[in-house]
């Protein structure tokens, strides 16, 4: 029998399926959203919208980090509570070069991401040997180790950190480079998530999250897959960290290595829907807006921690699949949010 015919027929069938998917897909929505975000800074001609720009930028930065976290935590099912370590590695790498040689962190971001990614690869080689609770605990220990190292390493400023030069733009336009950097990084992160989800690699990760032993016996190189997923997710988080340092004009351990940063990543993915492409972005929008309202009305950061904990508990108990996941399960997901 001629096997090429069969392969061709299958390919055609798959193409048809893909086209069918595309018809129900609202690709226009993310693209329009992106276009809107790109022209949004034009508002600065009309007046001072720095606050709005800051909010979008902040949301975008968390969308990058949450999407990054989602690749390991959502797709592969390895919950890490220590991803802010890569945020710190990216931030410090780019920040130190900016402080010494004056190279903008926006240019350095991919390199910083790569450094964080390599660190993630190496750390993943060690910590991904264990699963379940042991992995979560090891990720927490990672934060503690990193905090002690960063606090005591004098070359990078120790606990006091390093002040970075601010850019020379006027107040009206000073946020613009970072704004574009974060919005583009967010789009990149979503695109990476989408591509991974629709690749053999993504399928392998999903198999690992369902049942790792079966995945392995089905011939998936689980070890390589999950370490690579760790590296990619560290890459995205590190990239966000690089620009975040320059945006704050300061790098200091207690900006990057506080537990709230990594909790936010986890929470955004869970609230939005882990393992989906749109979930981290939806979660980031919700949490940032919620935090803003909460801080504005109540002030104290302790109450903020309490509230974050409460939302997380409620989300875990009542919507373990997250907003996108729960809606999709009940076939109520609006087309514009179906980015998978």
């Amino acid at each position: 029998m001629d096997s090429s015919n069969v392969i061709e027929a299958r390919k055609k069938h798959n193409d048809n399926l893909a086209r069918g998917n595309d018809k129900t897909r609202a690709t226009w929505f993310p693209l329009t959203l992106m276009a809107l975000l790109l022209v949004l800074p034009a508002l600065q001609f009309l007046g001072n919208y720095n606050y709005l720009l800051h909010m979008v930028l902040f949301t975008a930065s968390y969308a990058v980090m949450a999407s990054g976290w989602n690749i390991l935590g959502g797709f592969a099912g390895y919950i890490s509570l220590g991803h802010n370590v890569f945020f710190a590695i990216g931030g410090y790498f780019a920040g130190m070069i900016l402080a010494r040689y004056g190279v903008s962190t926006i240019i350095l971001a991919p390199v910083a991401g790569l450094v964080a990614g390599i660190a993630g690869y190496l750390i993943g080689m060690i910590t991904l040997r264990v699963r379940g609770p042991s992995f979560i605990i090891s990720s927490l220990a990672l934060v503690m180790i990193a905090r002690i190292l960063f606090d005591n390493w004098e070359f990078i400023g120790g606990a006091n950190g390093v002040a970075l030069p601010a850019n020379e733009l006027t107040v009206q336009w000073a946020k613009l480079p970072y704004y574009y950097a974060f919005v583009i990084m967010a789009a990149f992160a979503v695109w990476v998530s989408y591509r991974i989800k629709h690749s053999k690699f993504g399928l392998g990760l999903r198999a690992i999250s369902k049942d790792e032993i079966k995945a392995e016996s089905a011939g998936i190189n689980t070890r390589f897959y999950k370490v690579l997923a760790f590296a990619i997710s560290a890459f995205l988080v590190g990239m966000a960290g690089a620009v975040w340092g320059e945006y704050l004009t300061y790098i200091r351990p207690n900006i990057f290595l506080i537990i709230l940063v990594s909790v936010n990543m986890v929470l955004m993915c869970i609230l939005g829907g882990k393992g989906t492409v749109a979930g981290p972005v939806v979660g980031a929008i919700f949490i940032v807006v919620f935090n803003e309202i909460f801080v504005a009305t109540l002030g104290a950061s302790e109450i903020n921690i309490l509230a974050t904990g409460l939302i997380m508990a409620v989300a875990l108990i009542f919507f373990p699949l997250g907003i996108v996941g729960t809606l999709a399960k009940h076939h109520r997901l609006p087309k514009i949010l179906n980015w998978d």
Binding site: I137, A141, I270
Partner: protein, 292 residues
């Protein structure tokens, strides 16, 4: 030589408290398969009970220990009923349960922080700053008392587990939940009771912590990793293992602190955690080849 013994004694004294802090965690994991990340936060809640009892009414922390244990066990029962009951029924580890305890830890930290602010506190009964001298070796009495009381409580727990019918049920549930249920053990009640006991131990440990360490609500993040290193090294769910690991690691940490520098002594626990996970994920006394 006397310096060596001095460091050894300081390490052992801390080991006792850490053993008590870790044993509740180990008990809860053994029975419910839940890694209770909220445990250290609840220890700090216990420390606040002792702190305010001492500050407002001059009650000695050792006297307030049983009250803190009772208050915290009530908190434990409420938490179990509100949050963990459905998790316990599945009788199988899930990521969600860890994240749930994590969110409880944040709630406790936030509640304590907004009620009492994040200033460092320490209860200071007379013996906390005193020391006994034997030759040129000194033993801080605060740590000595805390260590001895911890060992007493752990011994009590061990006796209950070993000889009472109820302890028998707890051990059966730890070993094999389904089989225990088939043989007529009310595993739900056992889970509830051991969760309450675990949290009561956290409260008791908290009162001792209140005069051994200075504390503030956000400090529990550091303790999570420290206690986890004990529980993982001992083999998750093994209380004896946790106690041995506590003494072992705190002695090593004391030597690291004395010879290399005090900044690095806490690092011992975190690095130990990594090394154990790498070399022997089931710990010293664990039986399961891998935790899934």
């Amino acid at each position: 030589m006397s310096n060596f013994i001095q460091v050894l004694i300081l390490g052992l004294a801390l080991g006792g408290v850490l053993a008590l802090m870790g044993s509740g965690l180990s008990l809860v994991f053994g029975v419910m398969r839940i890694v209770n990340l909220a445990h250290p936060a609840l220890i700090i809640a216990g420390a606040y009970v002792a702190y305010w009892a001492f500050k407002l009414w001059g009650v000695d922390p050792i006297v307030s220990l049983p009250f803190a244990a009772i208050i915290l066990s009530i908190v434990g029962i409420l938490l179990y009923k509100l949050v963990f009951e459905r998790e316990a029924k599945s009788a199988k580890y899930s990521e969600m349960s860890v994240l749930l305890t994590f969110s409880v830890a944040m709630c406790v930290e936030g509640a304590l922080g907004s009620a009492f602010t994040n200033t460092q506190r320490v209860t200071s009964p007379g013996y906390a700053t005193d020391a006994i001298f034997i030759g040129d070796i000194f033993i801080p009495t605060g740590q000595l008392y805390a260590g001895l009381i911890s060992l007493g409580l752990i011994a009590l727990l061990a006796l209950v587990l070993k000889f009472s019918r109820f302890g028998y049920a707890i051990r059966a549930t730890t070993q094999n939940r389904e089989a225990a249920e088939l043989l007529g053990v009310n595993v739900n009640l056992v889970s509830l009771a051991s969760f309450a006991i675990g949290i009561a131990l956290a409260g008791a440990a908290g009162t001792l912590v209140s005069f051994v360490f200075s504390f503030f609500p956000a400090k529990h993040w550091e303790w999570i990793a420290i206690l986890m290193s004990l529980v993982v090294l001992g083999g998750m769910g093994s209380i004896l293992g946790t106690v041995i690991a506590a003494f072992l690691l705190s002695v090593i940490a004391a030597f690291v602190g004395a010879w290399i520098g005090s900044t690095w002594s806490t690092m011992t626990f975190f690095l130990a955690l990594f090394v154990i996970l790498l070399v022997r994920p089931q710990g010293l006394f664990g039986e399961k080849p891998e935790l899934t």
